[in-house]
């Protein structure tokens, strides 16, 4: 038995050595970006990231320090826009999707299965093929270049609806009945009784929705037309041209767009994992 355990320890050490190498390889591009933020952007674009970039010597703080003021202070505006959109999109999507999912999970009504079937159907449709009609819809609603234009298609997410529905189905109906006996309205039951019980589901979906919103690229690229309305990904992508002059902003801006998510990841790691594996792979 003892030798068996020794063998296990030996395998674990071997595995760990392998994963140390693999982890360093996976983190290397992030490290490269960090160090690149202390180098002149023009050189980086011309020569790429070289060995000299990667050695932590002669670090120049100017590029990061210039971030708030470069190109007329456009970066803080993009950052603010992205932040506003994350907050709006996440809160609306959570509120609406949880209510629809709750309704589909608790109530019996005519056509319920049809609605559920529709939810599953649109989950199957890649959003990319809907962008043309959505674009026409926005023009019709005169919502181009606005925040609500970005959020509207995402205020109900079929995936989140389905996820909330699955979660609600697992909660005993007794809680709803108890609420009714206490004389709460149906809305009251949702907010006072069920919402607290659904907290883990809210956590998982909040993280997922915030991550998707923060990194969302294609839709804001289409909707936002003026520089002051850009989000971080759209703004940064616009700097990535062969004729640009703002490569410092591109590189250090990329770093500062990534750091907040990594911090949030370490704070809420548990919800991240839950949100991503929520797909309901079981069976």
């Amino acid at each position: 038995m003892k030798s068996l355990r020794a063998a296990e320890v030996r395998t674990q050490i071997l595995f760990s050595l392998f994963f140390v190498v693999l982890s360093l390889l996976f983190l290397f591009p992030v490290y490269a970006l960090l160090l690149a933020s202390f180098r002149p952007g023009r050189d980086l674009i011309r020569f790429g990231i070289t060995l000299k970039t990667l050695l932590p010597r002669n670090l120049v703080l100017t590029y990061l320090a210039n971030l708030p003021t470069a190109q007329g202070g456009v970066y803080p505006i993009w950052f603010r826009n992205s932040l506003i959109l994350v907050v709006l999109q996440t809160s609306f999507s959570l509120l609406f999707s949880s209510m629809v999912g709750y309704g589909l999970g608790i109530y019996q009504f005519k056509g319920k299965n049809i609605v559920l079937g529709l939810v599953l159907l649109v989950m199957m449709v890649p959003l990319q093929i809907l962008i043309l009609p959505l674009y026409r819809l926005l023009i019709f609603f005169k919502s181009m270049n606005t925040f609500h234009g970005i959020i509207l298609p995402f205020i109900v997410s079929p995936f989140a609806i389905f996820f909330f529905r699955q979660f609600v189905v697992g909660i005993p109906l007794d809680f709803v009945d108890a609420g009714r006996i206490d004389g709460l309205s149906e809305v009251g039951i949702f907010f006072r009784v069920m919402a607290p019980l659904m907290k883990p589901a809210f956590g998982a979906m909040a993280i997922l929705s915030a991550l998707l919103s923060w990194n969302n690229f294609l839709w804001p690229l289409i909707v936002m037309r003026t520089k002051r309305m850009f989000t971080l990904p759209v703004g940064l992508a616009g700097l990535l041209t062969p004729y640009g002059n703002y490569y410092d902003l591109l590189i250090s801006g990329s770093l500062m767009a990534t750091v907040p998510i990594i911090i949030v990841f370490f704070l809420f790691q548990r919800y991240f994992i839950a949100g991503l594996t929520a797909g309901g792979i079981k069976g």
Binding site: F19, P29, V30, T50, P126, L236, I262, F265
Partner: protein, 284 residues
Amino acid sequence: MLPFIVSFLVFYLYPLVSTVIMSFQEIIPGQTRFIGLLNYERLMNPFMYKAVWNSFRYTMFTILILIPVPIPLAVMLNNPRNPANAIFRSALFIPTLVSVVVAGTIIRLLFAANPSAIVNTVLGLLGVKPSDWVMGGSATAMALLVGMATWRWTGVNVVYYLSGLQNIPQELYEAANIDGASASYRFFHITIPLLKPTIIFLTTISIFGGFAMFEESYILWSGLAGGGSPNNVGLTMVGYIYLKGFQGGAMGLGSAIGLILFLIVLVVSILQLNLFGFFKREAI
């Protein structure tokens, strides 16, 4: 509850139906007319074939890497008695958090054409000649796209497989141990078959994600929607929608591409599910 279902219909169902209708129309501002199958006839051109082929190739390559490779990684990490495993899992996961714009920018800088750029330097030490990865040819360009997907998505798939492994009853392994089964026997006869639901799920997601790829090539080739890439290797089906529908203003044509894309994805998914015996309803 009704208003939400209504908005749901407006922003999902209406666009879906609308795509179908638009694909039979010619849409010029102020005037829209039905032109039958003309959009589809117009799509029988080398660019469309190229876009379909690129999307297909990219999807197959990413599936070939991202479905099998994370399985042994997850199995190795699935030992709660080694506290370092949680750290490794996080390290593999972090690339997922990086947006496609930032990821593309880093990749371009790491794989720059300059011989002293880091990837060329390292390869130089191994005796490989420096190459222009981004612009040099369709093989290296496709390798970059697939490599970027591998970097960004391996961690997620490992996490999925880890949660799949949690659902495998430990007794199966104990019974196999008593029978004196080797590690490879356990891996191929217990782990892989019992991970089948996860494998099917991830393959389905990869098909959808692979065929919908566009942003990666948009970033690598500076917004030219893949048109600026060597031999148009970055031109994907969604890229072609963007090129025709938004930059070219041919929204009917763009919708037709979208519908073809949707049908291809559906057919490939069904073929895949069939291959895995998903419809046979066998006891998994």
